[in-house]
Point group: C2
Chain length 644, copies 2
């Protein structure tokens, strides 16, 4: 048995060095057996990365690891140009573990999952071994076809293997991408469906059943295989078999178990009931981590003993100390849940739609209380939004939910189409803004104001504290006669923002939440307003008095209100938790330029200027110059130049 | 025989009054026979509408008319809440003809296809009898599910019939939408595929074969029927049969003939060769119109004679006189074609992708000359863009084509995903801006600057004349190190814009193409710059001297250049052939606000403020206040107020 049993302690983390993977690969044993061992070792490193990062996707890394290990050990000639990548992308830790073992990743990277300059939460081409950026679902097969096209143009037919999720198959782009691959007979393309039966909230069956997958792929002209995705012998045999098929692209439906390899993380039990899978994302608790490590260690040790080999040497490092926040963390999503439930009680026309994010968007209670008025659409944002369009045409008030990064972009034309029907729909986007920074740019939503703000009638709003959620939702649902977008930060965040008594949102007008005289900072949302207040504190200590205005209106501004503000303050700063281009600041500044005023304030516009990095929240905010201290510094630097 | 034979004259148009449809419906004959007659009469009115409008979709109106006639005469209880709509939407003239015959349309509307206050080129809910806005493909089944949900919540299960195209089935949203309909057993939903085998450019088979459609729908859990879509008896029998199926949504694959009902317009001949179908959109020539009318008239007369009934009474009206333009019409697309061919000769890495718009985007010659470097993706914009992403990762230079309205929105997330990989891709959007105004808002692309402009690294440019196409394309393809979007107006347009000798685009900087002293008008593109010049002429006659600057940069502006401009001119006007919100003007004004200048110009920002109407180009431009005369008036009004 392994040497860690009973000795794993809460203050340590454990990982396996590359050299041990090399040793195991050299053992005298059938290749499929080695692949299984190797995959288990990789699981231990996944646990390490995710535990150290404090977040990450265990479940689908585990379900995919036997397959990924098989590919790198037995199928791919990477040096010759063979390619594997994951379309779902949230199994990145699993792939990282293998890329590290194969020395494709630079030494040391696995210690820095979800850290600046480390390994992003979802795949990015900046990481060695990563072919394409994924994390936005459904794009992988299309990307692979483009790669195959380029290869063919260069006279090559390298193997291209793409892994998809099963929930991911609900995305329309998947089916769009299957058609031409069949027509082009892209036989160098192999798609593997990691069919672990569980998506982010519930089972695939409960969320939006895929029906007969074999029949579907067959009807789309693909060669279809189905096997146990943990059976490395079956995998080897299957790849050998399909190598001979030269006139069709191929799909392997790999039946897997989400969380495979750690008994209490395995998701086989939840298929048929409503219980949620606990290990889709997020780090295991300390005791769970210990039990998982011990279990894998014991299993690998037993296997190695059968091969008369030494157990795996496992390295120990101190578990990083997580600094607990000293200030109260405010949460918008629970406030949103309360608002939605309350308004749904009052308005029988209110219906809620979700794209497989009921938990994250705070909809579990709504779904339970109003089952007839809740639609789980699966990962099918275009279909969701157009369904909402149909509902609105029939007089319902659809409230449409997803993460902002997806909701503002995937169904972009559908939202516009609905808007041209002049109906009322409330779109609610979670995970807005650059935080959490761990998942990386596919999930950091910093483009939705520009992507949707130009739609006629569309009004986008963002609350700066839990107390502002209800009033803004009510404005959208009751006062506004058209589409609206409620932009919600999902990370808990400390803020000093306090709304004035009897606060009522007034279209396009901000509200001063901190007085000042030298200038004014305008911002919206939980993170940006909190950091603006922090910056004002720092500036105040330096003798500069900046007011802070909460302007919850992201794409509209009232000219008279702005004229008052601009007359009052000689300096105006806008802060966007969003790209500067197309953000709230740009709307404010364009409106300012149109005002006829004898004197206008000097202006500074701060926002995100390039694709944001993945990392810990504090380090990413600092790297972007968006934390309070950086903001204060940038404000000082700007106005030092124009001080008269 | 009919009374028009040999008497149809080039100066007349012909239509059938409602009363004649009523008479035919009352004839003593089997219902399917009446339906066929009625459909033929509707075809004659479609010809009338399209000939009068000068544009419209004959081919798919004709292929769908037997089905639509059957629905309204034999299936739908409209008063009770049964619904039919077309997801493809470009068969709108066909539906209008039936809605007019059924007195659902207000009297007289059929005389005003594609006219302001008339009937839009694609369906709009503002028209009586139109359930939903379509024209953007792939949304119809989703919309129908939303309507079914609302009905069920109200305790009703009204029949909902949706027509799709066959090319439309290449859109991913279609397949996305099929999944949940099967899971929800939405048996009140009947989808009819108008399977006329031809999409906008080529046959479906050649463009992107759909393979075994019956197998596909069956695999998605739908009940499938297949029949001859012109056999009105078979249609009646089929609807009777499927009415009994209560546990599945139903699809009828209706084999039809594009252009059905006018022998020389029928598209049966082109299935297997490369010839293009001539009657997808656009009006018939005068002689074609005459032959078509005579043919339908003769056929209906013969059928009526068999029923011992009078021939159809056909009304004559004068064909509207089309005023020929007196000034030369400039065309950007041919200039683009020449540029692309030339650059492709020089750069073997240049590849072109199209989403079923090779003709409209000027790619026919490219496809013929570089077949290995041309990818016809079908109506699958998401797949196309992600394919381009894969190609760019492998070192190719993909040039991606579609209409701007679709290219900027349908694959919005895919374009962003590609941008996060820091590759170089040139997106080329045709049909940009509010003209042509005939097709209506689904095709009037006035939102792409905002929808894409905020993407880091993305630079969007628009040429004001054919001579500017090459230099801007070269800047995108050679000088810029990232994604770009070339926005092309597709309508021919007269313009006085002349670029200076040795013109070379400089990032973010405009070029003065008309001098002035009282103020400056900034604009981009063939239409906006032409109208700006026209406005400057008018203002000049009124004693006001306005310069015109061509600023081809839509989402970036050089601050120093702008500071010079703002110092030079006391008045600054921006004109957007785009929504004002999120347009070029907003970028310019936001940049202006950030400048530290002792004195800033007074500003006027003109753009589109609400969903634009369908109509004739000149009348829509005037209605929007965007023609030269309106612009001059608005400029005068604005600056009269601030004149000092």
């Amino acid at each position: 048995m392994g040497d860690l049993i009973g000795q794993v302690v809460e203050t340590e983390l454990y990982f396996i060095e590359r050299s041990e993977f090399v040793r195991v690969k050299g053992l005298n044993a059938p290749r499929p057996e080695i692949v299984s061992l190797y995959a288990d070792m990789a699981r231990l490193n996944v646990l390490y990365m995710v535990a150290k990062a404090g977040s990450g996707h265990l479940g689908s890394s585990f379900s995919s690891l036997d397959i990924i290990s098989h590919l790198y050990l037995s199928e791919l000639d990477v040096a010759a140009g063979d390619i594997f990548f994951s379309s779902k992308g949230h199994d990145a830790p699993g792939l990282y573990a293998v890329l590290d073992a194969e020395a494709i990743l630079p030494e040391g990277k696995i210690h820095a999952l979800r850290r600046l300059e480390g390994l992003p939460g979802h795949p990015d081409v900046g990481t060695p071994g990563m072919t394409t950026n994924t994390g936005s679902l459904g794009m992988g097969i299309s990307k692979a076809k483009g790669i195959a096209f380029a290869n063919r143009l260069a006279g090559r037919r390298n193997k291209i293997v793409v892994m998809t999720g099963d929930g991911e198959l609900q995305e329309g782009q998947i089916w769009e991408s299957l058609i031409s691959a069949a027509n082009q007979k892209t036989s160098e393309l192999v798609v593997i469906v990691d069919h672990n039966k569980i998506q982010s909230d519930y089972s695939v069956e409960k969320t939006s059943s895929l029906g007969d997958l074999v029949a579907k792929f067959t009807a789309f002209g693909w060669h279809v295989e189905r096997l146990d995705g943990h059976d490395t012998e079956a995998l080897a045999a299957c790849f050998e078999r399909i190598a001979k098929i030269a006139d069709k692209p191929k799909v392997i439906i790999a039946d897997t178990v989400k969380g495979r390899g750690v008994s209490f993380m395995e998701g086989t039990a939840i298929d048929s009931d409503v219980e949620m899978f606990k290990f889709h994302s997020g780090a295991p608790k300390a005791d769970e981590y210990q039990r998982a490590v011990e279990e894998i260690e014991a299993r690998t040790a037993a296997r190695l003993a059968e091969l008369s080999a030494e157990p795996i040497r496992i390295e120990r490092v101190d578990r990083p100390i997580v600094v607990q926040p000293t200030r109260e963390q405010k949460r918008l999503v629970p406030a949103y849940t309360r608002t939605l439930l309350d308004r749904a009680e009052q308005d029988p026309a209110l219906v809620a739609l979700s794209a497989d994010l009921a938990l994250d968007m705070g909809l579990i209670e709504f779904a339970a209380r109003f089952p007839d008025r809740f639609v789980e659409c699966g990962i099918a944002e275009q279909d969701m939004v157009s369904q909402a369009g149909g509902m609105a045409l029939k007089g319902l008030l659809p409230v449409v939910h997803s993460f902002s990064c997806f909701l503002s972009t995937r169904p972009n034309e559908q939202i516009y189409n609905n808007a041209t029907e002049h109906t009322k729909i409330v779109y609610v986007g979670g995970l807005s803004g650059v935080l959490p920074a761990g998942p990386g740019h596919s999930h950091q939503s910093v483009r939705e104001i520009s992507a949707l703000g130009g739609i006629p009638g569309m009004v986008m709003v963002e609350p700066c504290c839990p107390e502002e959620v209800g009033p803004l939702f009510d404005w959208c649902a009751r006062q506004h006669d058209g589409p609206s977008f409620l932009r919600l930060v999902s990370v808990p965040y400390a803020t000093d923002a306090v709304l004035p008594p009897r606060y009522a949102p007034k279209r396009g007008c901000g509200v001063e939440i901190r007085p000042g005289s030298d200038g004014v900072i305008v911002a919206a949302g939980l993170v940006a307003v909190a950091e603006a207040l922090e910056a004002a504190d720092i500036l105040s200590e330096a003798g500069q008095s900046f007011a802070v205005v909460n302007l919850p209106w992201l794409n509209v501004v009232d000219p008279s209100w702005l004229a008052d503000l601009a007359t009052h303050y000689p300096r105006l700063v806008t802060i966007d938790n969003h790209y500067r281009s197309g953000g709230q600041g740009q709307t404010v500044l364009a409106a300012l330029a149109m005002l006829d005023l004898p004197q206008k304030p000097s202006v500074l516009s701060i926002g995100i200027e390039s694709v944001p990095p993945s990392g810990r929240n504090d380090e990413v905010l600092a790297a972007l110059g968006m934390d309070g201290a950086s903001l204060a510094q940038r404000i000082q630097a700007r106005f030092a130049a124009v001080r008269t």
